[in-house]
């Protein structure tokens, strides 16, 4: 797939939308407007964006507790998301799920997930369904560096491999679980090395470079689509905020944080766009402004939406 001007500008727009959504969430949380836990994707926008740019509506993703970016990149609607963060009846989950459980099955989004590593076998199942139906749909599974230490990682990659399923495992290595850094939770540098345990390809890319992510994902997804089986992609990236809002992240070295802020994926793409003369600064500013506007509208939608009715507690437990 060629990296056309449209495509790259599209990346920028998506990343900016995520950035705007998450920045707004920081503010709203600080104002005590968002109940519960909120895990933000700030700094990791290039991963979801670069990967999901290869996917259509029929393709599946499974997400994590840090799911806003994945949802937006896969086409999720920011107003329904924001309303869900507010716990409103108009939210994606009618206020029943909150940030950690947003899904849009029609868009192939099989849900954020509050259980670390739980998305992996679910993605395997979605990929199985696709192969079973002889569809060329692909499943992409996002998960963190720390999640890769869970048993589900092992069982899922093995099962996907022996059944040659169309699934791409995308490890977002932001080098931390909550407070534990990678070198304290595993004894290897590149998580992509774990692919060899299952006889599948593994690759590590710069997760703050949306183009690198896009290209690696493009290859893996094409491979999956044509029936050649699963792969593992590790994207090295950085979460700029605490683990959840409210976490001051004192376990991180300020110098390291600083050096990663300098690798922020958004200015990096902006620079590239300007170098390629695909956009002027003014145009980029416009993209940013329109993203911010969209998010403001989403907040307005959320704030003006009704709360769920108390009787809603009892519905949606069983189908049929």
């Amino acid at each position: 797939m060629e990296l056309t001007k449209e495509k790259l500008l599209g990346f920028y727009e998506t990343m900016m939308t995520i950035r705007a959504f998450e920045s707004k969430a920081v503010a709203l949380f600080a104002e005590n407007k968002l109940p519960g836990f909120v895990h933000l994707y700030l700094g990791e926008e290039a991963v979801a964006t670069g990967v999901c740019a290869n996917l259509g509506t029929k393709d599946y993703i499974t997400s994590t507790h840090r799911g806003h970016g994945h949802l937006i990149a896969k086409g999720g609607k920011v107003d329904l998301m924001m309303a869900e963060l507010f716990g409103k009846a108009t939210g994606y989950c009618k206020g029943k799920g909150g940030s950690m459980h947003i899904a849009d099955v029609d868009l192939g989004i099989l849900g954020a997930n509050g259980i670390v590593g739980a998305g992996l076998p679910i993605a395997v199942g979605a990929a199985f369904a696709s192969k079973y139906r002889k569809s060329d749909a692909v499943a992409v599974c996002f998960f963190g560096d720390a999640a890769s230490n869970r048993g589900t990682f092992h069982e899922s990659l093995n099962m996907a491999s022996i059944w040659n399923l169309p699934v791409v495992f995308v490890c977002e290595n932001n080098m931390y679980g909550i407070s534990l850094c990678q070198r304290d939770h595993m004894n290897i540098c590149d998580i992509s090395d774990r692919a060899s345990s299952y006889g599948i390809p593994g690759i590590t890319v710069d997760g703050n470079d949306v183009i690198a992510v896009f290209e690696a994902a493009s290859e893996a997804i094409k491979r999956a689509r044509r029936g050649d089986g699963p792969s593992l992609i590790e994207c090295k990236t950085w979460r700029q905020r605490g683990h959840f809002e409210g976490d001051p992240a004192i376990y991180k070295d300020p110098a390291e944080q600083q050096s990663w802020l300098e690798k922020d994926p958004l200015p990096r793409l902006a620079k590239r766009l300007i170098e390629l003369k695909y956009a002027t600064q003014t145009e980029l500013d416009q993209i940013q402004a329109s993203a911010a506007e969209q998010i403001e509208a989403a907040v307005k939608y959320a704030e003006s939406s009704p709360l769920p009715a108390l009787t809603d507690v009892l519905t949606d437990v069983y189908a049929g």
């Binding site: 989950c93 029609d106 849900g111 679910i122 093995n158």
Partner: protein, 323 residues
């Protein structure tokens, strides 16, 4: 009608439903050519092939987790866990994922899957291969729990479970696999949530399920000879539970004994007792008795295992203590 064993009836339900709906498939350890650890799936591999009867690695987490994903994506998986005792390995996939996705997603997902698994003691398989764990499953909103006691019920309820749009835990009993009975041929579906009176009686209600229904029926025969007419009520599905049927029977007999194979504390028998103690208190003439296994792991040695299990004699004694 045809004579079938319980195992054959289960196989027949899977076969009929797989012929009817191409979205139904079966996965589990050694369910393929091997035919399953208890022979339940024998012949299905030959008929449906490796695309629909799927041998998995020993990865219970991925067996159930992938079934959840496939169900969310529109298929209707039947996932076999070789012994119910192994569900501890995949509990997260069942109770945090399968059971809750619909609710968490605001009603916008459907997880039509069946977790089939055999339970129960009686074959000296010891503490990790003999348990009765239905109480756990019934404590998970979003999951249905089915425990048939006869071949016909097994077929009709498994068909219903496969057609149900929710995760259903379908618990078979190892001691029943060889039990024969009349089973309707072809499509046969029983409703989930409807109890069955396996024996009518006027003097006392015995509620029990799965293998224990057979023991309760044997006890009822003995009791009848002593002039006590026991009604044996088999809820068949624990969730949804046919509370009305239980209360109606107790309304008639005014006495209740509950027989459960599981260990006593926090077993499903306690739930039934609590329902009656709350909603049928005025119907009761006597304390509600439970006949259960003691609060111990299942012992290996056959003599110990027999002492561990609720027996016909213990049921008879419990009933008689109320007269």
């Amino acid at each position: 009608m045809k004579q079938m064993t319980y195992a054959e009836a289960i196989r027949d339900a899977m076969r009929v439903e797989m012929l009817r709906d191409p979205n139904v498939y079966l996965q589990g350890e050694d369910v393929g050519k091997f035919g399953g650890c208890f022979g339940v799936t024998a012949g299905l591999f030959a008929e449906f092939g490796p695309g629909r009867i799927i041998d998995t690695p020993i990865s219970e987490t991925a067996i159930i987790g992938s079934a959840v994903g496939a169900a969310a994506a529109g298929l209707r998986p039947i996932a076999e866990i070789m012994f119910v005792d192994f569900t501890g390995v995949c509990m997260d996939e069942l109770f945090n994922q399968a059971a809750k996705m619909r609710y968490m997603f605001g009603g916008k997902a459907k997880i039509p899957m069946v977790l089939r698994t055999p339970c129960g003691a009686g074959m000296s398989a010891a503490a990790q291969h003999s348990q009765s764990m239905e109480a756990w499953f019934t404590h998970i909103p979003g999951v249905k729990t089915v425990m048939p006691s006869t071949p016909a019920d097994a077929k009709g309820l498994l068909s219903a479970a496969i057609r149900d749009d929710n995760p259903v835990v379908f618990i078979e009993h190892k001691q029943l696999f060889g039990l024969s009975g009349d089973v309707p041929e072809g499509e046969y579906v029983l409703p989930l949530g409807k109890a069955d009176i396996k024996r009518t009686g006027s003097d006392i209600t015995i509620v029990s399920w799965s293998w224990m229904v057979q023991k309760a029926l044997a006890a009822a025969e003995i009791l009848a000879k002593e002039g006590i007419q026991a009604e044996v009520l088999d809820p068949r599905t624990l969730v949804p539970l046919d509370k009305e049927a239980i209360l109606q029977s107790v309304g008639k007999t005014n006495k209740l004994v509950i027989v459960q194979e599981a260990v006593q504390t926090s077993g499903f028998g306690g739930e039934i007792s609590a329902i009656v103690a709350e909603h049928g208190f005025d119907l009761l003439d006597a304390p509600i008795k439970r006949v259960t296994a003691p609060d111990t792991p299942v012992p290996f040695s056959p003599v110990l295992e027999q002492a561990y299990l609720p027996s016909v004699e213990k049921i008879v004694a419990a009933v008689k203590s109320l007269f």
